[in-house]
């Protein structure tokens, strides 16, 4: 199973740069996710790999073999790339039965009738569709159609699998199930996979690594934990989950922490940094709501630094946790906690390690 190497892709539509110097490498057997808001260029990237878009610049190689190279005008036809692809709309051929949908790629490869039957049934088994082989797509549910599309993409043993928002047409319940199912399948097959989504939960729960993209520009590449806990910039912090952004000026430096003054409320805040920031420079720090520790003001613990006094302005019960909107002398914060805090006057502790500098 080969790795995918995408280098310096540029794609313009008129004046608009839909892809601006996009580079990444997907390791063998990895599930790699392109995450970003709608219109950021995810599909354009995926379709460039599949051969349905022609980038203006850049290079794409699968398993060390170039399939696209703008500089040498190499552009392998889509049908010769041997990639499996599942489209957002599934694109299950409506005039063919489930069996025929899976058989088409094999017919194109001139497989013998017997081999073809064996192979199609094998894959139908794999995608849990064996009983439905004679059905037409319109007789199937959304989830089943999606599995047809997946089966069709797998039946010819493609070298890599490309999935373009495959779950966006499923309802919430089904989506959860499909996620696990696809992830397991990908894992068992060890198939190098690029997965496109605008849903951060989906990206975080399924991926080995995530690429966050905005406006055609790569914002960050990392494991789900890295992207979530140590967002590289403000966009990533805000796009991947909820976040508190605290802006202040650097007052000093101590061990691996910077000391930041963020207004009246949070003076001398300690924030973990990788390298020492310029003194007196401005700094924005991202902290996830669930990293904040909220306690009733009277409690004794966490009476150390990085603890602010705050007032609860609203509480929402969200099933597995409570969400608090807090006012720490003018600094608005959102915090999540599994526990209910009995009073409106609270202490909020901001663990230095949970802070990521984003600007």
């Amino acid at each position: 199973m080969p790795e995918i190497d995408v280098a310096q892709l540029v794609k313009t539509f008129g004046d608009q740069r839909a892809l601006d110097d996009v580079s990444f490498t997907v390791a063998d057997g990895e599930l790699f996710t392109l995450l970003g808001p709608s219109g950021c260029g995810k599909s354009t990237t995926l379709m460039s790999i599949a051969g349905f878009q022609t980038p203006n610049e850049g290079r794409i190689a699968v398993g060390g073999e170039a399939i696209f190279d703008a500089s040498s005008r190499l552009n392998l036809a889509a049908e010769r790339r041997n990639l499996g692809i599942v489209f957002q709309s599934y694109a299950v051929w409506p005039h063919m039965t489930v069996f025929d949908n899976l058989a088409f790629p094999l017919k194109v490869r001139k497989l013998s009738r017997k081999d073809l039957g064996t192979r199609v049934r094998e894959v139908l088994e794999l995608v849990d569709l064996a009983p439905y082989e004679k059905r037409y797509p319109h007789q199937l549910s959304g989830g089943q159609q999606q599995r047809v599309a997946l089966g069709r993409a797998l039946v010819y043993s493609p070298s890599v699998l490309l999935l373009d928002e495959p779950f966006s047409n499923l309802d919430a319940k089904l989506r959860e199930r499909a996620r696990t199912w696809v992830k397991d399948l990908q894992h068992t097959l060890g198939l190098t996979t690029i997965f496109v989504t605008h849903d951060q939960d989906e990206a975080l729960s399924m991926s080995d690594r995530v690429l966050v993209m905005d406006g055609g520009v790569v914002q960050q590449i990392g494991t789900p934990e890295e992207v979530y806990r140590r967002p590289a910039n403000r966009f990533v912090a805000e796009f991947v989950g909820q976040v508190n952004l605290i802006t202040g000026t650097v007052a000093g430096h101590e061990d691996r922490n910077a000391i930041v003054d963020a207004g009246e409320a949070a003076r001398g805040l300690r924030v973990r940094v990788d390298q020492a920031p310029q003194p007196r420079s401005s700094l924005t720090v991202a902290v996830r709501p669930e990293a904040l520790i909220v306690e009733a003001a009277g409690d004794a613990s966490h009476n150390t630094s990085n603890t602010l006094l705050a007032r609860v302005t609203s509480v929402a019960f969200l099933g597995d946790h409570y969400q608090y909107e807090l006012d720490a002398s003018g600094l608005a914060l959102t915090a999540q906690s599994p526990h209910q805090v009995g009073s409106t006057d609270v202490k909020v502790h901001i663990p230095p390690d949970a802070c990521a500098v984003v600007a």
Binding site: A77, P105, R109, V123
Partner: protein, 578 residues
């Protein structure tokens, strides 16, 4: 689960024998060559001091000078513009009104009207005109009846306003369909909102519905104007007798009737007409914006509340019914009656003059030949044209062929080109293409080719909306699965396109069967078609057999459309919208 890995050796897909690009290029060249090609010899012919079939000759602008110095020619232009202008006003107002009434109000029988209003454009245009003449023309049955028995004046249809009225009744469906499609697309909640805000139904019409229709009105007006400028049948049959000449009939008569036929000057006139038609087409594209033309009728679900007409509900319905009766039903019945009587006159009761002679004549001689020839070229032509347009549409919209963007414009081009000009173009082309050309010139296949080219746009406009609704991801999935361009088209796109292909075939068959004007310059004894025979025999005065022939044409048309009825709607709406 190594299952998916390699239980069976999977070969890589093979390369097709013929690269897709070669096939695409061949189709592109064929389409562009057929549509644009014939104008080149015409241009050449228009700039020579003698006809192409005479040896020698030099390039000169003399034909243009001669044409422009002819007062008759400018008179013909003045008549044509008046005629086209009046036609456009009547057809657009009529078509738009009916469209609004049918799709936005609680008019009685509105469903039935929505279908019947399309009839004039589906019926053979020449037959319908002959019907009008037989019934309402000078000395026509009802015209006589009204004036002599009832002392009521009827409209003189051999005047410019009269001829415009007939042309308008033929082209009204064009305006109707464009407006109807625009209304179906437009969100009727805009109108509902206005009503909720307290506007009366007539206020809603004035302030919301009609402004919303403006693009559709402009679009159909330009098309109708172009088609009226190009029209030949009505000017020739009604205008010539009164010596009212139009550009089209002027050119035709210059070619056929002049003591000293001057093909070069006629070609120059044809070039000028072509330029005007092309400018109008470009104007229309401008008005439309490139793609808006095709926005498919994405069925906006949900029945919208209809504007109540109150007291006008019945009177308006009766008005439309009367219009349909007088403009379509009576002319067709008139033809039928005409075909079974010796003469049609209010002085003697028709049943005293019954005869089958006219029908007997259809089984012999020119009439018989014309029917057989027409059926042959309609069948073969419809098959060939549908096949070509199908592949051309795929190249235009589902390929990466570098020049594909030109195809939609080229495919729609003949729609705006007068049939007469296509005829002249092919005449010169056959003359200049040696063996092939002279074979085509001597057989019905030359006429078939001209008819096919003329009517290609109908097949395209039926095909395109359906193709646009077939998601591109479906063929991308085919490509990803390893199938080449043509294999994907065959296996996936064409099967899904089948209903549209069928509709296009039906429509092409009917259009070729009913077409006539491109053939006027190509017809020779032995290769007559229904249209040319109707025209020439009518002018020679054998009205009875011509009426019978027209009835045959109408009947075949209705039967074929009926056979295609399952797909009737798509065939019709797509067919004349562009």
């Amino acid at each position: 689960m190594a299952v998916v890995q390699k239980s069976i050796a999977l070969p890589r897909p093979r390369r097709p024998l013929l690269p897709a690009g070669a096939l695409q290029a061949a189709v592109w060249i064929l389409v562009v060559g057929l549509i644009v090609g014939p104008f080149i010899p015409m241009l050449y012919a228009s700039a020579r001091d003698r006809p192409l079939y005479e040896a020698g000759g030099i390039l000169t602008l003399e034909p243009y000078r001669q044409l422009f110095s002819d007062g008759e020619f400018w008179k013909a232009w003045a008549n044509t513009l008046q005629y086209a202008g009046l036609t456009t006003i009547m057809a657009v107002i009529g078509g738009a009104s009916v469209a609004i009434l049918v799709s936005r109000t609680n008019l009685v029988w509105r469903r039935a009207f929505g279908r019947l209003i399309l009839l004039p454009i589906l019926l053979p245009p020449l037959g319908l005109v002959l019907g009008w003449i037989v019934v309402w023309g000078p000395g026509g049955y009802l015209a006589n009846l009204f004036s002599q028995r009832l002392h009521l004046a009827t409209l003189a249809i051999d005047t410019i306003p009269g001829m415009s009225l007939i042309e308008a009744s033929r082209l009204l469906p064009v305006a109707y369909m464009t407006c109807e499609a625009a209304l179906a697309r437009a969100d009727s909640s805009l109108e509902d909102a206005a009503r909720s805000a307290g506007a009366t139904p007539s206020r809603v019409l004035r302030s919301v519905t009609i402004p919303m229709l403006r693009p559709a009105l402009l679009n159909s007006a330009t098309l109708i104007f172009t088609l009226a400028v190009a029209s030949l049948g009505i000017p020739l049959l009604l205008g010539t007798a009164r010596n009212i000449k139009f550009v089209s009939s002027y050119l035709y008569l210059q070619w056929t009737n002049a003591e000293q036929p001057d093909p070069a000057t006629v070609s120059a006139g044809a070039m000028m007409l072509l330029v005007v038609a092309t400018l109008l087409l470009l104007l229309r594209n401008r008005l439309l914006g490139a793609e808006a033309r095709y926005v498919s009728i994405a069925g906006r679900a949900g029945r919208n509340a209809m504007l109540p007409l109150r007291g006008l509900r019945w009177p308006l319905a009766i008005t439309i019914a009367l219009y349909l009766t007088f403009s379509t039903l009576i002319p067709v019945l008139g033809l039928a009656l005409m075909s079974v009587v010796v003469v049609l006159t209010p002085l003697v009761a028709p049943w005293k003059l019954l005869t089958w002679d006219h029908w007997h004549q259809l089984s012999t001689g020119e009439f018989h030949r014309a029917i057989v020839n027409s059926l042959e070229i309609s069948l073969v032509g419809a098959i060939l044209a549908t096949a070509l347009v199908t592949v051309a549409t795929l190249v235009a919209h589902r390929s990466r062929f570098p020049l594909r963007k030109a195809l939609p414009f080229v495919l729609l081009y003949p729609r705006a080109t007068p049939g007469l000009i296509i005829g002249i173009g092919f005449f010169w082309t056959y003359l200049l293409t040696w063996g092939v050309g002279s074979w085509l010139r001597g057989s019905i296949w030359g006429i078939m080719l001209a008819f096919c080219v003329r009517n290609l746009p109908f097949a395209y406009v039926v095909m395109y909306p359906t193709l646009a609704r077939i998601g591109e991801e479906l063929d991308r999935a085919g490509r990803a699965a390893g199938a080449g361009w043509w294999r994907t088209c065959r296996g996936i796109v064409l099967p899904l396109l089948r209903p549209a292909i069928f509709s296009a075939f039906i429509l092409m068959f009917v259009e070729i069967l009913c077409d006539y004007d491109p053939a006027l310059f190509l017809v020779k004894p032995g290769n007559e078609v229904i249209g040319t025979t109707m025209l020439s025999q009518f002018i020679q005065g054998s009205v009875g057999p011509v009426a019978a022939l027209a009835v045959v044409q109408v009947t075949i048309t209705l039967v074929v459309l009926g056979l295609g009825a399952r797909l009737f709607k798509i065939g019709v709406t797509g067919g004349h919208d562009a």
